[in-house]
């Protein structure tokens, strides 16, 4: 049992010096009040409409999982196809994705995390067209967690002592309760989140199966949320098992029906990956030859569905589905 001590101040022992995305919990609340639909209205639209409407040049964007695993790839492709500019990317648990977005000319800032530092990324860095701020995967997802609670910062037990700390928005303070040095990190409220889920209804009530990265915090923390779904299911189905709904409709601004949106990656419980194309994208970004990949898989088609039709075909899709033999935990 401890009686509250009463320091008049809390010491700030160290502060990172990097720019960080604006923190404004009250402004975020007002955005929610003015823009988030609390009525049950259909938000179904095409990937083209969703990206036109909800992704703007200069936006801070987070996407969930990555290009290989339940990635919102149809939306990522559409963002590149629409040539969005100067995006600030939450580069947590990413792999080839940042290299693709930078290669496509869409990104000018990255908070990392982890990403493959490809020739395109290095060129952009050298040319001063890209800035990178230094966090780590969990620090990024904890920033989203704080953003998802509407609070300006959150204490964490990692990140202290690293050089990343210096190139970030973190601070080291004396915890007023224990007197111990404690790291706090700034909340993250992205402008836009794109998330691929297994099932959603037309209002945006979304089910996710399997492990995840920060899908739910990202949906809560972001001003604009685009959900793509392997399957659109009926709201009656949602109401029949409310325990499966991970993201409620009111967080979601657009719902895109997008079977095989994770291609060439896997969507657990639905289909395995296409290993040849997974290797192709790795080879492309690592060798600094991302353009041919983008040309073939993104720019030469008008939509994800056209890409599946022209470049993949039924046999391969059925084979991917066939190779995914695990069902336990992935169905209602």
């Amino acid at each position: 049992m401890t009686t509250a001590s009463e320091p008049a101040t809390i010491e700030v022992l160290a502060s990172g010096t990097a720019p960080y995305h604006k923190i404004d919990p009250d402004g975020f609340r007002e955005w929610v009040r003015d823009h988030k639909e609390r009525a049950l209205v259909s938000k179904l639209m095409t990937e083209k409409e969703a990206v036109e409407k909800f992704v703007a040049d200069g936006d801070y964007i987070t996407y969930e999982c990555n290009y290989l695993t339940r990635g919102p790839n149809s939306l990522l492709h559409e963002i590149m196809r629409q040539q969005k500019k100067n995006l600030w990317i939450a580069g947590k648990f990413t792999y080839v994705d940042v290299g693709m977005l930078v290669g496509a000319g869409c990104a000018s800032k990255v908070d990392t995390g982890f990403f493959l530092c490809t020739p395109a990324v290095r060129q952009a860095l050298d040319a001063g067209k890209l800035e990178v701020y230094e966090y780590s995967n969990v620090i990024m997802t904890m920033r989203l967690e704080a953003g998802a609670q509407g609070i300006p910062f959150i204490p964490v037990r990692s990140f202290g002592g690293t050089d990343g700390f210096d190139h970030s928005g973190a601070k080291l303070i004396t915890d007023p309760y224990t007197g111990q040095a404690t790291v706090i990190i700034p909340a993250l409220n992205p402008d836009v989140a794109i998330i691929h889920v297994q099932q959603a209804d037309r209002f945006g009530n979304a089910r996710l199966f399997g492990t995840g990265i920060s899908d739910v915090p990202a949906a809560l923390a972001s001003r604009k949320v685009i959900v793509s779904a392997e399957e659109i299911i009926d709201t009656e189905e949602i109401r029949s098992n409310p325990g499966l709904t991970k993201i409620p409709y009111w967080c979601v601004d657009a719902v895109v029906e997008a079977p095989f949106a994770g291609y060439p990656g896997t969507v657990p419980g639905y289909y395995a990956s296409d290993p040849a194309v997974v290797m192709e994208v790795f080879a492309s970004v690592l060798r600094g030859a991302v353009e041919p990949y983008l040309e073939k898989w993104v720019f030469s088609v008008k939509s994800h569905q056209e890409m599946l039709e022209k470049n993949v075909g039924v046999a391969k899709l059925l084979d991917m589905r066939k190779r995914e033999t695990i069902r336990g935990g992935y169905r209602a």
């Binding site: 999982c65 290989l68 695993t69 339940r70 580069g91 947590k92 648990f93 990392t112 995390g113 982890f114 990403f115 493959l116 530092c117 990324v121 290095r122 860095l125 990178v132 230094e134 780590s136 995967n137 969990v138 620090i139 997802t141 904890m142 964490v156 037990r157 990692s158 990140f159 202290g160 002592g161 690293t162 050089d163 990343g164 190139h167 080291l172 111990q180 040095a181 404690t182 790291v183 399997g210 492990t211 995840g212 990265i213 920060s214 739910v216 915090p217 896997t266 657990p268 419980g269 395995a272 990956s273 290993p275 997974v278 290797m279 790795f282 995914e324 695990i326 336990g328 935990g329 992935y330």
Partner: protein, 279 residues
């Protein structure tokens, strides 16, 4: 256990980590390469009751092996038959709470105090070479009770001071440095394993404690830019067994992406192990 006739350097390191895996302990495997395969190897052969998590918050899976290429987290085969499914913050929070006994990770550069660089070679912001960043390793290095680092034995990897601390070791090496930086008490680097040897820390400084039979202490020290302390008795590690390399090649790293990625091969010439090529 049968002696293996030929194996790669990376396989040596993984086998040596695998043999440290303990029943009833928890492991956080960084990413999906050597750390994950080392734990799985240990779990399959030596410590079936070891439990692990990966960054996507899977808890104690019984994965369906082998994996598809690059599909070592989130994928259905990797998270199969887990006791629970979580998220990245699940993994982060259990490690913050002290539930993770060991973190196993690999790196590009380590220094005398166990600090890890996976962000930048050279001076940050002034040329040099950007790398991939810490990923989950920062949290592993900060919050697991003990960390096991896997890396290759080479001068450019064992340095006096890393160019950039991506994931914390003992920082400047002074007592209490981690605590003063806000990290949990009594945590820190525990072992470094390379294909040639093994290190612990004495007073927060790297110390060579074991070597493989086919490499001398002097050869190891020649591949350290920073000369580590050397234990009074440097143990000789056992070579990989046939069982170990068979399992690695048939169930774990079946495409050889991890094991073949770097380093040479070691071959039994009938009398002893010699370094050679795989041809």
């Amino acid at each position: 256990m049968t002696r293996a006739e030929a194996f790669s350097e990376r396989e040596v390191a993984m086998c040596n980590v695998a043999r440290m895996v303990e029943n009833g302990r928890t492991y956080w495997a960084a990413g999906g390469g050597t750390p994950l395969y080392s734990i799985l190897l240990g779990k399959k052969l030596y410590a079936p009751e070891a439990q692990y998590v990966t960054e996507d918050g899977v808890i104690a899976p019984e994965p369906m092996l082998p994996y598809e290429p690059m599909m070592t987290m989130l994928a259905a085969r990797a998270t199969y038959r887990a006791l629970a499914w979580g998220t990245m913050n699940t993994a982060g929070i259990y490690s913050q709470l002290g539930y993770m006994d060991y973190g196993v990770l690999n790196t590009l550069q380590v220094d005398k105090h166990g600090n890890i660089n996976s962000t930048f070679l050279g001076e940050w912001g002034a040329g040099g070479r950007r790398m991939h960043g810490p990923g989950g390793a920062d949290t592993i290095a900060a919050c697991c009770w003990r960390t096991i680092l896997i890396t290759d034995q080479s001068k450019r990897k064992f340095v006096e001071k890393v160019d950039f601390i991506s994931s914390p070791g003992f920082l400047d090496g002074s007592e209490g440095a981690r605590e003063r930086a806000g990290l949990p008490r009594n945590t820190g680097p525990w072992r470094v394993v390379t294909p040639w040897g093994m290190y612990d820390y004495q007073d927060r400084r790297l110390r060579l404690i074991a070597r493989v039979p086919w490499v001398t202490v002097d050869e190891i020290l020649a591949e350290c830019e920073y000369l580590p302390l050397v234990a009074p008795e440097v143990k000789v590690l056992e070579a990989p067994t046939e069982e170990e390399v068979h399992l690695l090649r048939t169930e774990l790293d079946v495409r050889g992406q991890t094991t073949d990625a770097a380093g040479g091969w070691i071959i039994w010439d009938g009398e002893q192990y010699v370094r050679g090529s795989a041809e």
